[in-house]
Symmetry: C2
Subunit: 333 residues, 2 copies
Amino acid sequence: MDSLIREKILTSLAPMDIEVPLSSMDDSAVIEGIAFSTDSYTVRPIFFHGGDIGKLAVSGTINDVSMMGARPIALSSGVVLEEGFEVSDLERIFRSMGETASAAGVGIVTGDLKVVEKGGLDKILINTSGIGFEDPELENNHVKANGNGKRSKWLRDSNVADGDVIIISGYVGDHGVAVMSSREGYGFESSVSSDVAPLNGMMHRALASGGLVAAKDPTRGGVANALNEWNEKSGIGIVVEEDQIPVREGVRSACELLGIDPLQIGNEGKAIIAVVPEYAEDVLRALRSTEEGKNASIVGVARKDIKYVVLKTEVGGERILERPVGDPVPRIC
Amino acid sequence: MDSLIREKILTSLAPMDIEVPLSSMDDSAVIEGIAFSTDSYTVRPIFFHGGDIGKLAVSGTINDVSMMGARPIALSSGVVLEEGFEVSDLERIFRSMGETASAAGVGIVTGDLKVVEKGGLDKILINTSGIGFEDPELENNHVKANGNGKRSKWLRDSNVADGDVIIISGYVGDHGVAVMSSREGYGFESSVSSDVAPLNGMMHRALASGGLVAAKDPTRGGVANALNEWNEKSGIGIVVEEDQIPVREGVRSACELLGIDPLQIGNEGKAIIAVVPEYAEDVLRALRSTEEGKNASIVGVARKDIKYVVLKTEVGGERILERPVGDPVPRIC
């Protein structure tokens, strides 16, 4: 997928010289001061423990905008339905979208609804796009973060440098396990709920504390994928301590059962954040003061003397933490 | 569809008090000076006479932003593929998107690509969202247009008033007929090409001329639907002269064969524009000076003394021009 995007798509779409361009493949683009992001949501089942496709579509795009250091202000909603889709289910999904957006203080301001014939689509697909302005705290955050004078003000994947402290905002793997356990045929049940939630409020608090250089919501491919993106785009090694990464017992046991690494499955209400060391404790405190970040933990550090993302395991060993090959869990977002 | 949207969706999505809100169902929303629009494209076949789903997805959203009086600056691209979709077709579609956006001077700045399992989707679906700023000519246009001091500066559906002149920017029905004749099973062939094209340049020229009060691209449901939206939202009657509406011979004969009204099928490179009478001829000239608007024609007038959209037929009669019931041509956009 990644090579398809790089080789076929980015070369075809006319490149544009803007603050944060498409080619950087950050969570949002930034053009003329506006952060702009899009995502299509195809999760199955559409209702799962702790959420539904509507809450996911609203939260996911709010988070992509928030991860750049922007304050999301508005979303679009593009819904495509298969003919015969239950109107009561549609109402439930739109209610969930409305409630989620409302609670996050973001408007769903424009929309489109199309219906295709039976068989043209499996039930429903939702695209949301989001726009946002620079967070009022971003400039101040940048003053604290930009020790070497070369980093982007925006929280870009290419911003991570030697010594930056890596923080995870809470338990990882909840969304993936919740979705899988909501599916028939996986042969396991679980009480784990999806973590799906908008993180704009939490991110604003973290920025107000200051010193952030990069942020990312570890969705598809999980924490492993997100850290590897930083590693590649920033050209910096990252060491993470496995025993510092919060994983719920229910997630751990489900992952063992399925032979999946909890660091490789998607989250929808978590952020990984890179912070200059002087402000790491402040940011941790700021995160912990929020409901979404109350279980935040410092998990690692960026290091120029190593080349990869290295996981120090609980039993004292070390291994390279690679991107998942293929999708360990299809259709979780 | 319309009642579904009004009753189930608009009530669920938290309303927001912005310049042009979701509830007005204009072509774009406007929030904090930014026009913002979204659309999902599901046209079949994906390659048709005169265009493809990629050119359509880029043009359609550029046009929705342009119809508000905004200058589109950036698009998002959310593509969902069925597993097994031909990579060569995908390349062709992305090339087409890139070329169309480039020619229109608009960047595709952010994107998402997802693949679902075989059978989860029929081939491909593209969502584009677009953002734009107020056209630099909009303020001046407004000074000329706003005789009664009560109209919105933005070219909203609710802006049409007694005496406004209705202009169509060229031949109607081309897109719908081109798409149908590209389908197997319709039993007719045609040399008609889709009119799919970005209209931002043409609209900028029209605004520079001044006096526009409303603009709309007559896509789903065609000119009939667009005029009825103005009629309802502006509370004003509209009379149009059938013999002034440009219809190609090939479109006319195809529509006769299929029993469809050319005014009810979708266009993807046309605008209907309402102008205060003093500037109607100027706007007509401005439109005709562009490639996309060279066949523009004055077709009617808004009248407070009538209640509906009335078509004066070529044979001298009159009939009410209603919205199409259902979709006369499914999957043309």
